[in-house]
Amino acid sequence: MATTAATVSDKNLWKGGVEPLKASYGKLMMWFFLLSDALTFSGLLVTYGFSRFSHPTFQGKIEDFYFSVKHWPIPERVFTHIPFFHVNAPLVFVGIMTFVLILSSVTMVLAVEAGHRMDKEAVQKWMLWTIVGGLTFLGCQAWEWTIFITGGKPLMVDGLQIIGANLQGNEYGPVLFADLFFFITGFHGTHVLSGVILNILVFYNTTLGTYEKTGHYEMVEKVGLYWHFVDLVWVFVFTFFYLV
């Protein structure tokens, strides 16, 4: 009688069945979107691997490494800057960026957890921290790009002096190196930016009490899935672009 109607709500009911795969429509579609996005990113990263393997590797010790279009650059010799300090700090800044993104992922799970408890205040607090983390990451990336584009140590190629980097040439090595740097970190940065915008929208809706009216905070979970995915992609970019 009325007891069945109380447990099966409209939201849980797909036309033709009750929650196939025991996940709501929105969450399932987010999973499949992320799946397709994973394929896109693996396409970009595999292109990086292909280009790297099709260029000669520098033979010799890391200490003797020099920049040349004849071999692929060693990342820890390219990314050596940190803001405010004029020291040689290879990969330290990217390491910090990785931690920032992982931490903002943690605050996102805490927001989801708070949502399950209908705790509006806590959702607001954790969403705000997630937004701060995202914006910090974007700021770091803007700085990283500036340093990469400006450069500093000129490279002679066919009698021409190249300083810094653009899509036609760069002081670090083969043209493709900078191209893929811009494409991969840029595509990821675009994802972070749209993630921050989505997070701001969710924060705004939480504050307005939209989810309290709906009776659940599932939107936090869906945007959370996207945000964790963006974090995951960075884990891969960090390993395969910067470390290996």
Partner: protein
Amino acid sequence: MGHAHNDHDLSKPVQVLPPDKAKIRRILMTTLFLGLATAIEFVIAFTMEPGTPKTMIFVLLTFYKTFYIVGEFMHLRYEVKTLIWSVVLPVSFICWFITAMLAEGHSVEVLRTWASTWF
């Protein structure tokens, strides 16, 4: 995840449940594991000679982090089996994609080097 009330009764005040201590503990432990894995990667980047063992350690640590992010943070571990497989299986095809393209890239390099000795 089940949602307890869907009747949208606004006259009643929203019932806020206390924090789930066990769940928060698990989240913080996951954070610790992720942080440690990244720290280890960082140390290895500067202490080991470049080569296959170093790359393998990086790949393994990356997968380790992936399992935690997707399993715990994205909650996939707790979904039904069919959902887990419908995400994991398509992703596993990427493994072949990587193998094929890296081999192809290496072949291009070999051919380029060979050609440059002739022309």
